[in-house]
């Protein structure tokens, strides 16, 4: 839509915003003039030359030889994961000991992904705390949070600043209690979560272990440790999961259908899915504090995402519980394995209703797999999710070509390779642990694929390389409400299948849409 000829500017009846305003001739002229006269631009042919060079194998080799700079990595830092775990407990306020800017970032990041409020405080450490330590910040901070936000529990983690200066959370919190900042019996579990170790999934693990060990091992020396008395119940831990709203509810539905006695440790599905009804709920839902203590007695703990819970699971194991670990069960086989393991642990049979659900997912795959079979995929994401998605792609007859995981290590690499080797569809695939999205760019140019699966940041890869993007992962900022749908279980598999198919069909339509040229294949029935 052009602006009015007379004014060459806006038109009240049809307001143009940035999408169209800057395509008007007066702006195009202005941009050109600015560039030529003032920006000292690189000549267009030089830009083009370098752009072509960055697509080459030569560039790829230089790119992969990088040792010091990380470019567009797909991972965040520990405290983010610690907050993710903490808000899954009833009435829990996450408290990050360190400088306040980090917390502004964490809150924004979650709000942008979930489109929800994300409550978290910090101890607002500044230069004086850097010199003298942050003890006073902890003492005042806990008192203020306790008075203002009336939490049932405050879960403390750290930033890199507090870690570098070596603040001791255990001692600091004890000190704050003694000074009366919080009642002696108020629960303040904690975890050290340095940002220069691991990633957000490490932070999740540390906080989960921190919370369990606080409740099980005597609340930081204030009460006697719990004695385990096994009961017929299982614990479930979800891990850092961008689809937590949909997945947690799906898990609960599955376990209820089976009649399983279960406890979810950190259920943040309600706090990140609160209604708009005139009330702001700072806390909603979550695992009850009494249930955390109770969880020690469960016969087993099931981790849905093993790489998010390495330390937690080995801690629970030490307590004498059986533990089972999955890697983001997506699709038929992974859900089968999950349900059979639950059945084995609990003695509860898998009900017919779930068998029917399974059959429906298989039916959907049978109906649609022709469109996916043999298509080449690149994907990246967190360690567990990439394993889950790879497994599902293989059972759809798709061919994963590049699987990349910035926060994956050797163990992830081995698991991914084993998964790929077990399927004829996996034989052309390479796995890339510790690599970033600029590496992925080189991969996509030198060894192109048909589709890319990843988070919102991959839209730059889609633009650069022309590889259509299927958005699955964390964060998803530029599409709404996907986190409300599960990706686990048979229903979750169906969602993932539909997301993949939708993109494939959109691409088919785009490729056949030109009238009198390619539209003979522009079919109504696919």
């Amino acid at each position: 839509m052009e602006t009015t000829e007379k004014t060459k500017s806006q038109n009240a009846d049809n307001v143009l915003d940035h999408f169209n305003l800057f395509r008007q001739p007066q702006y195009l002229q202005m941009f050109e003039k600015k560039k030529c006269e003032f920006e000292n631009p690189v000549p267009a042919e030089e830009v083009e030359k370098i752009r072509e060079w960055t697509k080459s194998w030569e560039y790829r080799e230089k790119n992969f030889a990088r040792e010091a700079i990380s470019i567009n990595p797909s991972k965040a830092c520990q405290p983010l994961g610690a907050i993710f775990a903490a808000v899954g407990f009833e009435g829990t306020l996450p408290f990050v000991h360190g400088s306040q800017g980090c917390v502004a970032y964490f809150r924004s990041h979650f709000s942008r992904h979930f489109k929800e409020p994300s409550s978290c405080v910090s101890s607002s450490m500044t230069e004086d705390a850097a010199v003298f330590g942050g003890l006073n910040n902890m003492i005042d901070g806990l008192a203020n949070s306790f008075s203002l936000y009336k939490p049932k529990m405050i879960a403390v983690s750290t930033t890199c600043m507090a870690e570098v200066i070596g603040d001791d959370l255990n001692a600091f919190i004890k000190n704050a209690r003694d000074k009366g900042s919080i009642p002696q019996d108020f629960d303040v579990p904690f975890a050290h979560t340095p940002s220069f170790v691991g990633s957000h999934i490490t932070g999740y693990d540390n906080m989960m272990k921190g919370i369990l060990s606080y409740f099980w091992d005597g609340k930081a020396g204030t009460v006697p440790p719990l004695e385990r008395k096994p009961v017929d119940r299982i614990n479930i831990i979800g891990g850092f999961d961008p689809y937590t709203v949909g997945n947690m509810r799906e898990l609960k539905r599955l376990l209820s259908l089976m009649g399983v006695n279960y406890l979810i440790l950190s259920d943040n599905s309600d706090v990140w899915d609160t209604p708009t009804d005139g009330t702001f709920r700072m806390y909603d839902g979550g695992t009850k504090l009494a249930e955390i203590s109770d969880a020690i007695h469960s016969k087993a703990t099931v981790s849905i995402q093993g790489f998010c819970t390495e330390k937690t699971i080995s801690y629970i194991n030490e307590k004498g519980q059986q533990t089972v670990v999955f890697h983001c069960p997506i699709g038929v086989r992974a859900t089968d394995a999950f349900l059979m393991e639950i059945s084995k642990l609990t003695g509860k049979p898998i009900p017919e209703e779930l068998e029917k659900e399974r059959g429906r997912l298989v039916d959907a795959i049978a109906d649609s797999n022709a469109h996916i079979h043999g298509k080449r995929f690149a994907l990246f994401g967190d360690p567990d999710m990439t394993l889950g998605l790879t497994g599902f792609l293989l059972e759809l007859g798709a061919e994963p070509i590049h699987v990349l995981c910035t926060n994956g290590g050797k163990e992830w690499e081995e698991k991914a390779k084993a998964l790929l080797e077990a399927s004829p569809f996996g034989k052309n695939c390479n796995v890339y642990a510790g690599k970033d999205l600029w590496h992925m760019r080189s991969l996509l140019f030198t060894e192109p694929v048909d589709f890319l699966i990843g988070n919102t940041y991959a839209k730059y890869l889609e633009r650069d390389t022309g590889t259509p993007l299927i958005r699955i992962g964390f964060p998803i900022f530029d599409r709404h409400h996907h986190h409300r749908y599960p990706i686990w279980g048979y229903q979750g598999g169906l969602n993932v299948l539909v997301w993949i198919l939708d993109k494939i069909f959109d691409e088919m339509d785009k490729n056949t849409i030109v009238p009198a040229k390619s539209d003979y294949s522009y079919d109504i029935i696919r």
Binding site: S9, N11, V15, N40, V42, V47, Q100, S111, E127
Partner: protein, 491 residues
């Protein structure tokens, strides 16, 4: 407390606001209440400021909306310089969370000759903390130079650990600049723990431009033909294209915009800015430092302007023109006249839908005051406002915008803001992403006044039309009539 409408409403508004502040403070522990009391007040006509303390450390344990010095430097000032690479030096998080999260629009081939929406980090691991990261930084610079040969320069944005472990990033920058034939490499000491908010980061970033860009250029010969009408836009970050809808007006009135700081800006524009005749400053808070420096060092005057809403735009165009000859003054009048019919049409359309609506704001930079005029152009009233990281001079400037009795809250905490909004029941809240969903859940229409909710631009005449449309869509969306279930008593 009498709240009868007939007798002198301003008195009642003042008393109501005073009582509200008192009530809110009661919930704090005594020590904290004493501190917060200084940041909450109401504006009283005739006073020289808003009666609040500012630019003081936030209380630990409260939900402050503030960010850190790194956010001020990398996220605001340096990040938008498009042909330079900005390294988030330290652990991965800071770079990740600030990656493409501010809508600093620019034109260029990303990854080849422009780099704004990329995330470069030295991704510190434990060994870098223990042994220091200077060697890694030097290597990172070499790798960048090889992989991105068209970059015009590099900045090193320090995260918290850098200052704490004592890395010498200045030495690395100097050494590598020499290796790369004099390339501009700027070390920026913007560690997050410095200062009390992002504000110090702006200042540190300004100083680093002074020391590592402008001072470096002093005495260097350069081909550049000046005109008497050369100006620079200072302190516009081009959110959704704001600087572009501003620039077009300046060019239409006959000025030549030599540089944009820093939205859609380039290193060359920064370097040439000392040659302009006037620096025109939009975000005073983030870039008054460099403007004052250029005034002292190069004798370039600077003038503040406000391009939100037609009243303030016209005032500002005339103020800017007053620094030039009649040709420009006439140019300003022509621009004002040219856009008047469009402005009239926008106001005719939207004012009836927005007349009398009350707004509460809490933002950063200049917006807590600058947007008030735009709301007033639409018949709306701002009844409460405050700054994330304002200083006393911001609150002095605010007195020109606010009415007697307006509630003022500096570095408002999440708790206070909710209570204030609940009590005053505005028709619209304008703040950031962290506040957005809180107020929407409470049933209040909301606009993000940092990112324009991914709409915009809001600056200039073209931006005002979008602003008006967006405020209407927020306030008059049917969704706000559905928040209460019909079987429940309505609010």
């Amino acid at each position: 407390m009498s709240l009868t409408i007939e007798n002198a409403q301003p008195v009642n508004v003042k008393e109501r606001n005073k009582a509200l502040i008192k009530e809110v403070l009661q919930v704090y522990p005594e020590k904290a209440a004493k501190k917060r009391e200084k940041h909450l007040n109401l504006y009283e006509a005739g006073k020289t400021d808003c009666g609040v303390k500012s630019n003081i450390k936030s209380l630990p344990g409260v939900m402050t909306i503030r960010g850190c010095a790194y956010a001020g430097s990398k996220g605001v000032v340096w990040g938008p310089i498009k042909d330079m690479i900005h390294i988030s030096h330290g652990p991965v998080g800071c770079g990740q969370y600030s990656w493409a999260s501010r809508r600093n629009y620019y034109i260029g081939t990303t990854g080849i000759d422009t780099f704004v929406t990329m995330q470069f980090t030295t991704d510190f691991q434990e060994r870098d903390i223990v042994f220091g990261g200077d060697k890694k930084l030097a290597k990172a610079l070499e790798e960048l130079q090889e992989l991105f040969p068209l970059n015009k320069g590099i900045t090193i944005q320090s995260e918290c650990p850098i200052g704490l472990i004592g890395d010498d990033i200045e030495a690395v920058a100097k050494a590598k600049s020499k290796d790369f034939g004099g390339k501009t490499i700027v070390p920026v000491r913007c560690e997050g723990f410095r200062g009390v908010s992002q504000s110090l980061g702006h200042h540190i970033a300004n100083d680093s431009i002074r020391d590592w860009v402008l001072e470096k250029m002093a005495g260097k010969k350069e081909e550049f033909v000046s005109t008497p009408y050369d100006v620079a836009i200072i302190g516009d970050y081009n959110i959704g294209g704001d600087a572009w809808t501003s620039r077009i007006l300046l060019e239409e009135m006959g000025l030549r915009v030599v540089a944009q700081w820093s939205g859609d800006g380039s290193l060359k524009e920064l370097e040439r800015t000392p040659k302009v005749k006037l620096n025109i400053l939009h975000c005073y808070r983030s870039m008054n430092y460099i403007s004052r420096y250029m005034e002292e060092k190069f004798g370039i005057p600077w003038v503040e302007y406000n391009f939100f809403g037609p009243t303030k735009i016209a005032e500002s165009l005339r103020k800017i023109a007053s620094f030039f000859d009649d040709k420009i003054k006439e140019g300003a009048e022509k621009v004002i006249a040219k856009y008047q019919p469009m402005v009239d049409a926008v106001i005719a359309k939207y004012r009836p839908r927005l007349e009398g609506k009350k707004v509460m704001l809490f933002v950063g930079g200049l917006r807590p005051r600058h947007v008030i005029g735009a709301y007033e152009d639409l018949g709306m009233e701002v009844i409460g406002t405050g700054y994330e990281f304002g200083h006393n001079d911001d609150y002095q400037r605010t007195t020109h915008y606010v009415k007697d009795g307006t509630l003022i809250y500096d570095d408002v905490t999440g708790f206070e803001f909710e209570k204030f909004v609940e009590a005053l029941q505005p028709d619209l809240v304008g703040s950031g992403i962290k506040e957005k969903y809180v107020f929407q859940k409470m049933g209040f229409p909301f606009r993000q006044m940092h990112s324009w909710d991914y709409s915009g631009p809001y600056h200039g005449y073209d931006g005002f039309a979008i602003f008006a449309r967006d405020m209407d869509m927020a306030i008059n969306s049917p969704v706000w009539k559905m928040t209460a279930a019909p079987w429940k008593t309505t609010k």
